[in-house]
Amino acid sequence: MFKKALLALPVAMAVGAAAQAGEWQDPNDVLQQFLQENPDSAYLHQSEMNIMMMPDNPALWLVDEGEELFYAKRGPNNVSLEGCDFGKGPGELDGAYVELPRYFEDTGKVMDFEMRLVHCMKELQGFTSDDAAVGQRHGNGSDIMKLTTFIAHQSSGMAWNPPLDHPQEQAMRDAGEKLFYRRGGAMDFNCASCHGDVGKQIRASVLPHVGTGPEWSKAVSWPAHRAGHDNVRSQNHRIRGCVWQMRHAGIKADTPVNTALISYWNDQARGEPAILPDLKR
């Protein structure tokens, strides 16, 4: 109940004293703040090594490459992505990442970050799905992950704040909540089977709890360098991995089930500062 009341306040009040909602913070500073304020979270404290590596997070290497790609004239139309509106106006990247998914007038639907990025690369730059620039979604070498890391980094330390003003935004967030609890597949799992309790472990992995703000903020803070994969991964890549482990049907990129799940999970981290990019197991 206390938590609900907090969430109703302006987001700036819910985050630690150091952070203002709109203030950029170094990802490692955000992590350190979480660690200090939540000494008992097994999830946040699970990897000493990752915490030590965080100042030299390999994901940061992609930021510069992503910036170059963003401002370069590219694609058949030979234009940069400065005309791309992620919700705060064309080319406005500060705080854009933490305020997604959102409803876009020009497409008439709610789009998550990756969907929007791909939309711009196709509509503005003229790429098609056959071009590696948008076709290749995963791995440090992909344009999508470089751009994602650069753009997300511009929102580091800002509070998750996906808008819910448009009825479609609310509808997708609410459907995402249903999807989070929807059982299915060969093992009868829903997302809460593994993320519905505090401090549980599946084999060696400590699981983040969806109802614990700081844990969930770190959990949804992708892009992140995933140490076990030695690559930077996206929110969509994480969903695909969990859905695969759940023995559901394979989920596709740029689809509304992804968008709805992200609408719900970013909403669950509302008010907490984002770690962008993060470093995970």
Binding site: T107, G108, K122, C194
Partner: protein
């Protein structure tokens, strides 16, 4: 599987209003223009899962049938799609559904070979489809028990979503009532634990009866490391 939630009935299809302006509109591709705000959250969730081309439904599932069948809910999956624990009525219905569909193996439950059971309890292989498919022809699927349970007390890597089963047979023995109970739990745990997180390994044909017998031996055989 029971398509008992909403199916297509809850959809509101607008004949004239153009809601999709972009050319990559997902709603437009599969079903005409749909006003997602006219559905309640349950209806929209069902619609998103089944009607928006979000999954690779055409893939074959290892247990038979298409991937689409996996995403249609049966009665227990639908009843247990809840935040938190089921209320008393739901719990009662789930237990009844679980009991009704429970099948004893021919000749009754029995214990197999605990060494085989040890491998199966550890293995997390099997039934994954999507960007990569588990190939049951090259490797046998396992039971994932260690993902959620401690079993052999000497094994350090285990999950904690379920209770520890270390010494399970040593404390309970292995007379027929224990063997029957463990089979019922592994086959369909909702008979005792309605809306549990534990999968229905028998009911869903995730494990064969022979595999279940081996895993039961791993839990109950006095020689098994679980009981040392």
């Amino acid at each position: 599987m029971l398509g008992n939630k909403t199916g297509g009935a809850g959809l509101v299809v607008l004949a004239s209003t153009v809601l999709i302006a972009g050319c990559d509109g997902w709603m437009g591709e599969t079903s005409g223009e749909v006003d997602i705000t006219a559905m309640n959250a349950d209806e929209l969730a069902e619609y998103l899962v089944l009607e928006t081309d979000s999954y690779r439904f055409e893939q074959e599932a290892q247990e038979g049938g298409s991937a689409r069948e996996r995403m249609k809910q049966d009665g227990i999956q639908a009843a247990c799609s809840l935040e938190g624990d089921p209320d008393a009525d739901t719990a009662g219905e789930v237990i009844a559904m679980a009991r009704e569909s429970y099948e004893e193996p021919p000749g009754g439950p029995r214990l197999g070979n605990w060494r085989r059971g040890a491998e199966l309890a550890r293995s997390g292989y099997g039934y994954r489809i999507g960007h990569r498919n588990d190939d049951h022809g090259s490797r046998e699927p396992g039971g994932n028990c260690y993902a959620c349970h401690q079993m052999d007390p000497a094994e350090e890597l285990y999950g904690t979503l379920g209770p520890s089963l270390a010494g399970y047979g040593a404390t309970r023995g292995n007379d027929s009532s224990v063997v029957n109970y463990v089979h019922q739990v592994v086959s369909n745990p909702h008979q005792y634990f309605p809306c549990t997180k534990m999968p229905r390994f028998g009911h869903n044909n995730f494990l064969t009866e022979e595999q279940i017998a081996h895993i039961m031996a791993y839990l109950l055989d006095p020689e098994s490391p679980v009981n040392q």
